[in-house]
Symmetry: C2
Subunit: 220 residues, 2 copies
């Protein structure tokens, strides 16, 4: 069963009738093809995205155009930072793209902000959302700083495999580099090393996980 708008908000029953009505009336269902950019840094402020189906990816960009994935959004998740204009404290540019064909509700930032300003319930819920994202980002810093790239890459391959439910990954080295914030050459070199260890089998835009336990041991 596809989630309803109310399913995204555990505090739905604590909102006022009027607030629920406004949210329901303003939320618009949209669809994006895999690869489509949904939110483009500081350009525009679409609103909150509530992902009904598919998969989204939020990432930041370096001045040189290098990417790193900040988080993935799966069915039932809410993307807050695509409504960055809602809060003056949000001073970073985030990009959101559809990784898979996706359907999602969009709640306009102005509507959500207006309700949040009056409703302690919605403001506290938003606080919790932000705290959860913050926690993930703090974890990510530790990974980048203190976990070797071999471990990060092994973790990434296992996560991809778990999300797609298969050991056959169709993804380019370039894409992996974008996820992990590094250069394509670095990914290619490490994947070749994995292959020489019998952990994966490589072919064009295709990686087969051959020895999961080896990857899991590496990922730690």
């Amino acid at each position: 069963m596809r989630p309803e708008l109310s399913d995204f908000f555990p505090v739905w029953d604590k909102l006022k009738n009027e607030e629920r009505k406004i949210l329901l009336e303003s939320a618009e269902m949209r669809h994006s093809q895999a690869g489509e950019m949904i939110h483009n840094g500081s350009e525009g402020c679409e609103g909150l995205l509530c992902l009904v189906s598919g998969q989204l990816r939020a990432f930041i960009l370096s001045e040189e155009g290098r990417e790193i994935s900040i988080y993935r959004l799966l069915e039932g998740d809410i993307c807050l930072f695509s409504a960055s204009c809602m809060m003056s404290g949000i001073q970073f540019d985030i990009f959101v793209e559809a990784e898979k064909t996706s359907s999602y509700f969009v709640i306009p930032a102005s509507v959500y902000k207006k309700i949040m300003e009056e409703s302690a319930v919605l403001a506290n819920f938003t606080n919790e959302l932000m705290a959860a994202r913050m926690s993930y980002v703090m974890w990510l810093i530790g990974q980048i700083l203190w976990k070797g790239f071999d471990r990060r890459l092994a973790s990434f391959l296992l996560e991809e495999s778990a999300m797609d439910g298969t050991d056959d990954l169709y993804i380019t080295h370039e894409k992996i580099a974008d996820h992990l914030g590094t250069a394509r050459e670095v990914v290619t070199r490490m994947l070749r090393y994995f292959q020489s260890e019998g952990l994966v089998q490589l072919s064009r835009s295709h990686i087969v996980l051959k020895k999961r336990e080896g990857l899991e041991k590496l990922a730690g």
Copy 2:
């Protein structure tokens, strides 16, 4: 003039009389010596810290005990994450220590949480605080990933110098490594390179900035 409790909250006038009264009555002034640990990861949940004077440092720890500074708190700043028990979404362990002898108000987490649950004003203010910290952390990720260590070290020396208002920095290489999330040897090597370029002059636990414009150019 030292800040009053109300000075920490731009929304003070929008709070109810009763809420202001509870905050004033529950806030306790505390003092810490330089080097003292104020908040210790998941142990305890002191509450919000409102820094009246001095300087605090918030950092995270790797499993191997390596540190990286997440942010610095200066006079007038509020530390939210020392009250992490307030929000279930906060799932990371942060440590807070006094970098200089410091005086600060402590608002118990339970008191703050109770008001925030009722008050949209306070909840939205807390949202903005968290968004600002999140923005800083996102910037930090970009620095770690995409800015070379020479640039990060040059920026750090200039920031230290600006904060202390002097070109004479009394800080160990170990301390700098803790700030920047790296090993002491890496700091020592780079500082020696800076010295060979005439940018700094090194002696035991003492670094003198000799060529600010050179460091600024490097910091970018």
